[in-house]
Symmetry: D2
Subunit: 376 residues, 4 copies
């Protein structure tokens, strides 16, 4: 089985998420990075490509050039990873989708709802796949949580508590990552709600199997001069009557990447934390708490399907991210054979829901946290 030929847009030197995508693409050996437009600065794009061992002729100065020239090659890329700042996602993804090249795009979908809708139209018109890397859905115990809820282990869901706390933006010392992620022109209207709140929203829905009907959001910018929110409090109303809270913050001193999810139903509860991802707490009402472990005695089929090592051999962030890539490979190979497959991979629909979430958070907050409906 030959590897899928992959290109990358963004992800040059000093980038964070580009390197993560490359680890993820490499871990299971399903992809080979063969081309890149790794920076919007041509020299940096070329230097970054050479440092990664790319053929110099496939180090491009722009995604448009890459799309055009790769599409023309017999051995051109089959898929592309888009790992730029948010405002480039839409135009870059569209350039490849229009040429039938599958797209694996970082989240959130785009910087603005308009960009999102344009991209959705392009994707709709294309035979190529669009996959959005809501990577936290790739954790085995998250898959297990979803499976357990779907099969009724918790009964009807009542309450969802999700939080995503960081502290790296607690002051304004900046840096490359801080710069674009707090710039509305590049990141979009949402700051914390866009960067990490969208992950929290996605995870809550992925696991609970529920959609958010409406929300009430109170967004804050604590650091002086910051143009976007750096902390957000959101109350959620899910379809079917469940309620929830979502907190995301980039100023919560002492938190590195503290994404946590708690779901409570009529007959059971589940609790999970990203920084200890190999375990899932499960309590059937009236019985002792159980510590379910990845690849352990209580691990479910859907968790085992995305695990690589025995219990007690911790897997982490990169493995979860790689699960998205490897499922993308399966989907791409199926698409190449015109086969339909069932998949839980996040895609355009999740991307649009995420954009709705961000946009409605901002709108609700401007309206003094009034309940505001999400439109799907």
């Amino acid at each position: 089985m030959t590897k899928i030929r992959l290109g990358m847009v963004g992800g040059g030197k000093d980038a964070f998420i580009g390197a993560v995508h490359r680890y993820a693409a490499r871990l299971d050996g399903e992809f080979e990075l063969v081309a890149g437009a790794l920076s919007s600065t041509p020299k940096k794009a070329r230097d970054s490509g050479l440092a990664l061992g790319l053929d110099p002729t496939r180090c491009y100065g722009s995604f448009d050039e890459m799309a055009e020239r790769e599409a023309a090659r017999a051995d051109g890329i089959e898929a592309v990873a888009i790992v730029t700042p948010n405002h480039v996602h839409g135009v870059a993804a569209a350039a490849f989708l229009r040429r039938g090249i599958h797209v694996i795009c970082d989240k959130p979908l785009t910087a603005t709802m308009e960009q999102a809708q344009e991209l959705a139209q392009v994707a709709d018109d294309s035979d190529a796949l669009f996959i959005l890397t809501h990577n936290y859905t790739g954790y085995p115990m998250i898959r297990q949580a979803r499976e357990m809820i779907a099969r009724g282990d918790l009964g009807k869901i009542r309450v969802v508590q999700v939080a995503y706390a960081q502290d790296w933006l607690a002051d304004d010392t900046g840096g490359k990552q801080a710069d674009w992620r707090t710039d509305p022109a590049r990141a979009g209207l949402g700051g914390a709600v866009g960067d990490i709140g969208s992950h929290a929203h996605n995870l809550a829905c992925f696991v609970s199997g529920l959609r958010v009907d409406s929300l009430a959001a109170d967004l804050q910018s604590f650091v002086p001069g910051r143009a976007v929110d750096d902390n957000a409090h959101v109350m959620l109303r899910f379809e079917g009557g469940a309620r929830g809270m979502l907190w995301c913050s980039q100023v919560a001193v002492g938190n590195e990447n503290a994404l946590s999810l708690k779901v409570y139903g009529e007959t059971g509860g589940l609790e999970w934390a990203q920084e200890a991802p190999n375990v899932l707490w499960f309590t059937p009402f009236g019985a002792p708490k159980q510590l379910l472990t990845r690849s352990g005695a209580g691990a479910s089929a859907s968790a085992n399907a995305v695990s690589r090592t025995p219990g007690g051999h911790p897997e982490g962030y990169l493995e979860a991210f790689a699960n998205i890539y490897t499922e993308a490979a399966v989907a791409i190979r199926a698409a190449q054979k015109k086969r339909q497959i069932s998949t839980v991979l996040p895609g355009m629909s999740e991307g649009l829901a995420g954009m709705q979430f961000i946009e409605v958070c901002v709108r609700s907050s401007l309206n003094d946290a009034a309940w505001t409906r999400l439109e799907y």
Copy 2:
């Protein structure tokens, strides 16, 4: 030093909190229980009193009788603990305050705001002390958190996250405790918000040193037929610009008594959980997280003042509760000598704030979670 003569209203057989008050009163040897109106059922009151070793002549059938007869004795009670359902707090406390007997009352203050205001008036007219057992403020590491924030270790406070989750009301199997705590006539309008949300609100304010200006609350009753809320989501706006979230639930399956508090400021963060009360996490921004332990190297003066054992010898719920009682003893002895003392003991002001919190939560929720101001 002789012990303070203590009476008790409520707390007969099958009660929960009455026994807790008795442990708390006994641990440091500052009180001696000498009289009781332990139940509103006279026979049960008497049986319960005898079981506790009370003099039969001081086992009363009603608090009124106890107040009148004890006030007439030369060796009558100096203080009384009120541990009845909420709707009795006001009338019982008033009966003793009017006779100059100090009152130690369980929370919340009363079942209704009217009762609260009447009681406040009585307390105002009395020389006797009114102490409200917001017992979680008695934990040493909570004292330390308050001290650290007051002296500026966290800088200006930005975010307060407080949660109080239980699961004992996840179904409707009931029991004595469940019965009155979900009956609006006895508990008041608030269910979870009254029973545990009021603790969470009090703790957040006690530690942060901030008052809540306004809140937006979304209350739910998940168990069919329940007349009060059993889960509540609340967004908070504090004076001075800090924001917060408060979640309380009695249907969160897998949680026993999970009260937790997280406070984040410009330069540091603190995190504490009631079920592991001997430690306090402190992160100065940009430095490693520290695990501060009770009686340990990083313990502060205010924590040490209310600790009994060396580090690693865990203290718990009863010790924290006893700290309130022992500070009450200090305050009572001072009052008996007409001396003013400085104390952090919760009293009428905290009780009224708590009633405001409950009442405004219910009102905001009925008004679709509109922001509603608390009036102090």
Copy 3:
């Protein structure tokens, strides 16, 4: 029911364990401290007694005087707590046992094996009870562990791992507690093995239901000039074939009072740690780990019998210690009525086993860690 009249030997100002015994005696209201020989320095003895509210005529200058005069009173003490340095335990306990006064004595039994054997003879000749405060056996989840093992939840026991780590003697800065506990004349031959190793040995046997047949010990004195061990490594062979390891240390920097016990059998495992005493980990082989909680869904009868508060309301060191006192009260009242009762209270037999443990550790270590049998 009147309180048991209690005296105390040792436990004056600056003492640690005396205050603990007083809290433990007070919590459940079963004892009243009425007399004391609280220090070997008469003035300090008297000052300490007055500070505790004792009648000046019952503040004695020596335990002999107290034994003689209290035995002569109609309202004399019924029981005495011995909380002196180890070398006084034997003579003090004997003075009371000979007069029919029940003894509650701190561990280890004595400073030397000779003292232990003499005391055992005295106890044997007395109708009074001798109770040894191996307080860690009083924790509810320790009771549950013992019950689960006794009823076969783990199958035949294979491995016992017990550790007791502290760091307060990591240097030689001393203090009153350090002084006597590292002085062989007062503490006995064992340093860490006597002070805390004896607790670890007792707990391992109490929970597993097994006796140690032989051991191989390697003792060290890391702090220059120290006359006793401050760290000890011990391999254990239990009757019936189980094996174990015991580590105790007072120089393990970062440990406050880290007593932990792990027991593994053919079909299950249990793990417990004193610094988080309200939970017990249980794994049935081949099934998920369970977190059993005090007063929780999985709590057993023997745990519930010694619990005071609902799950999630942490109990700690003093509550466990108080359980020993309250069971002592039950035993004393039964003895006063010449009734036999079944009890798990540690007494002379456990005291002698502990002395054997200490003495054999020292002997084995002097013999280059040769396997050495314990003789019961």
Copy 4:
């Protein structure tokens, strides 16, 4: 930079550690697997190779054939991974070393000391590198612990506690992995001491910077019919006066892969656990405990050098294993250029020390746990 051409011996279908080596080789993109003798069964070897995408002509039926034919190719493998049962390590590694092909070999070094010494001689005579995958040394926080101890953060080391507990051999249900790992002919004389005790020994030495002078070991076989130990208790004496304990078990029910290390010195202590590998507890004597996190504020240079993601994005077992491979790549490229480099990679010296450890454990245990010296 082209990838290093890698072969593999062992690691066919149903193998565990072969797949791990392939993930490790792939993650950083430094190796390309191009040849294999993946099973001693020719058909399985070929099928396994094809499943991995190997060129059919490079799927060999034996390691000898592979060594001979690859050495003859211009594009032959530059390095080989040996992932067979232990008894094959020596002969296989020798076949490649003799032909100048670098060897990356799983631990322990061999099944017997004789095999080890023969292999050492071959390695000594070869210009090729011999690298032993003591993979736990690849964890960033283990690197940090080593660095902190080397620079004196703990002062002189006193005590080392290391434990490695599993439960997968708690009964005799077997399976492919169990079969060979409990067969002395294939695994060697050591069971648990060879399979996991050798890791624990290596880690303790790697971090502390100390060698074991002598040890006293008590080995057990709890499962009826088992020919090797499945639980071992070992007391350690290190050069320079430090002492330690090592416990390894494969019958400790409730433990998946619980490798933990605690090191205590005169002025500080460190604690680490493999199942939560991204954090390291550090306590300077007399100060609060610190939670040092990978890529966090307290992370050291040596930890950062082997980290891929920001703090809070957990790395795990495969990343640590990959660190060994990537450092092997650096060493191999340097060797190809005849350059000397400084490295902490485990190799022949660590392999021989491990064999000493295993052999001396068995010998000491047969001699009733007599202290026995390791000879280096």
